[in-house]
């Protein structure tokens, strides 16, 4: 099975490549980059388009098993493919929690049967994600988990976090932490600040995130473990990561498109629209600017979606009672192309790195490169394509996005996983 992507611009940060090249895919691998490529093969004309190593989302919620009403591995991976992602890391806060090898294997079995992109399960840090006893990392690793996380909840106890970072070293697992000091965030529906005051909503202060980031950086330094900060949202969190990196601590961090593009004022401007409710919450403009600066200077290592689908019933309620989370797989890339690259904040190669090469490196995942021999996971972008965010057309079961109606320039148009085309945008 040979496939040629012909006439496109190849951007591959893993090789420092930005050139007009044809890409030959053979037997699920990248076989050759050359120009022009000749020979018999199925050819896809990608003139005017950008060929990138497949995008990898380190942070999404596929909800299966247990909450198939919100999302399934089938719908979630279709959403990923449509959004330009060739691999997703699935957070373990399913029902039951992915804290045992048997559950990991069940997820992978289902992904092989129904999934259209690669699914990398993340195991729990603690049994049941209750924050007390460590899960069996050796078994989880062997079954296919690529990291551990209690995402959705912080690891409240510093002692447990210390043990997790220490123990994970034996299996070369990264510990991904949802940083939040629970006593400060208790009952909060949004960021604490002037906007929460005006809306009369209980707020979670940014410091409650940053102090746990500080703690985790110190613990990673002390233990030699690897910590990855999930969905950094606060300026002080970026600062803590930056200082940790300067000291050589093994810390990495991600930011989400919604935290990069929106601030807490959106809750007010939308009159309490629950599609602005997520955890961590949208912060202030200074926090957003700090995240952008972190992206530019490399403090933030990657962009992840924190795709969190919910049913309409979970969201069509009072703001206080609405579920936390927004969907992101089908909007992330277009948002980044328009609002980060289009706005001149990042260049295209930086964005590709943030969405592909660096997430692959953080967890040691396959992909993130178009070097010959790499898995044939490819994302093709059309930088000129105009799209309007229309939740009714999402592949995801979740419709909960604060970006509905946004018109964006630039979008993924072709997704190739393992040499097979899993998504192709209709031609215009």
């Amino acid at each position: 099975m040979r496939l040629v992507l012909k006439g496109g611009r190849v951007i591959d940060p893993s090789q420092g490549l930005d050139d007009r090249l044809d890409v030959l895919i053979e037997d699920g691998r990248i076989a050759k980059l050359a120009r022009p490529l000749t020979g018999r093969a199925r050819t896809i004309d990608v003139r005017g388009l950008v060929i990138c190593p497949g995008f990898i989302d380190l942070h999404c919620h596929l909800r299966e098993p247990g909450r198939e009403d919100k999302e399934t591995i089938a719908t979630g991976t279709r959403a990923a493919a449509a959004g330009g992602f060739t691999a997703v890391c699935a957070m373990p806060n399913t029902d039951p929690v992915n804290d045992r090898a048997g559950i990991t294997r069940a997820i992978l079995d289902r992904a092989r049967a129904d999934g259209v992109v690669r699914v990398h399960p993340i195991g729990a840090i603690t049994r049941g994600s209750l924050g007390e006893e460590l899960a069996e990392y050796g078994d989880l690793r062997e079954a296919g988990c690529v990291a551990v996380s209690d995402d959705g909840r912080p690891v409240a106890s510093a002692r447990v976090m210390r043990r997790a970072l220490e123990y994970a070293r034996a299996f070369d697992l990264t510990v991904i932490d949802h940083c939040e000091e629970p006593t400060l965030a208790h009952g909060a529906a949004m960021n604490e600040g002037t906007v929460s005051t005006l809306l009369g909503l209980r707020g979670a202060p940014a410091a409650g995130e940053a102090m746990v980031v500080e703690r985790d950086v110190l613990l990673a330094e002390m233990t030699g473990g690897k910590v990855h900060i999930a969905h950094a949202s606060a300026a002080a969190s970026v600062d803590a990561v930056r200082r940790g990196k300067a000291r050589g601590v093994r810390v990495t961090a991600e930011a989400t498109p919604h935290h990069l593009l929106l601030v807490d004022q959106a809750v007010k401007d939308s009159d309490y629209d629950t599609s602005t409710k997520m955890n961590p919450p949208l912060r202030g403009e200074a926090d957003r600017q700090a995240l952008l600066e972190g992206l530019r200077d490399g403090t933030i290592d990657c962009i992840a979606t924190d795709h969190a689908p919910h049913t309409v019933d979970d969201k069509k309620v009072e703001y206080d009672q609405a579920a936390f989370g927004v969907v992101g797989l089908e909007t992330a890339v277009a948002l980044c192309l328009d609002r980060l690259v289009g706005a001149g904040i990042l260049d295209l190669a930086q964005l590709v790195s943030l969405l592909s090469t660096r997430p692959a490196r953080i967890l040691g995942l396959p992909g993130g490169s178009l070097a010959p021999g790499s898995p044939a996971d490819v994302t093709v972008l059309d930088p000129e394509r105009r799209v309007k965010v229309d939740p009714a057309r999402f592949e995801s079961k979740g419709r909960n996005t604060p970006f509905a109606g946004w018109t964006l320039k630039g979008a993924p148009v072709l997704t190739v996983v393992d040499g097979r085309v899993v998504f192709s945008a209709p031609r215009r």
Partner: protein, 323 residues
Amino acid sequence: MNGYPHRHLLGIETLEPGDIQAILDAAEGLREVLDRPIKKVPALRGKTVVNLFYEASTRTRASFEVAEKVLSADSLTITTAGSSVSKGETLLDTAKNLEAMNPDMIVVRHSASGAPHFLARHCRSAIVNAGDGAHEHPTQALLDALTLRQRKKRLKGLRVAIVGDLLHSRVARSNVWLLSKMGAQVVLCAPPTLVPPGIETLAPVTYRIDEAVEGADAVMMLRIQLERMTGGYFPSVREYHARFGLTEERVRRAKKDVLILHPGPMNRGVEIASEVADGPYSVILDQVTNGVAIRMAVLYLLLGESARESEPVPEPKRKRGRA
């Protein structure tokens, strides 16, 4: 009478000074009905109002009910206990079911901030916010303003201290908006644990009640819920009263003709000493009477003749759902 150009009353923040003026003027005119031997006018005959109360309320609920009766609206009150809410029905389902009975207005009190906005987005009826979480309580601020205006003949330039639990108080937020919009000079006072972040962008804040009360034309006291103490906001009722309570001695720092307001229910001996609550400068009971007048005005402006006249485009007739 001036018109009120909005379909709902969700909060003071989004009102123009002219809207506030219109409501106060209407209340002034309608207040007289309450002094008649037969306290009833046919202004809202044939209109149906649902009072949907998800939180305990004595004054506000009674006040809306009296206002509805005086204006001849048909009204019913649903409270959480004894309704399908206690059977787990969602707010939206409850509201939609009530709407299927074709009311013209829903008056809603809810512990969730933004609940009236949520209903306004999904319902056809006019929505009146009777208090939502810690967000707003617009009719309370309006009745406070009416009370001040009656006694002082103006709002502009008045120095008004608002003292107490600013963090959890919707009354404080609505009053800050209203008084600032109408040109009064507001000063806020609370222990720092009960000052919400950023409130100082709306009005200056002091932690000393003596400073707040100094030279005040009016002092609005806010209820201190006793459970705040267990929440760690302050160490004891004794210390709260000693440091932040309104005592007679402190009232003497204000202007001689100072007015003392309290939205109720009061905690005597906590935020306010009994002598002050019952003192000559207290207008706490006037507030209650004015509350009825304000709610009459809001009902009238949203549902009465003038509402129909000021409606720019007649609403399309929609097919009504069946219950």
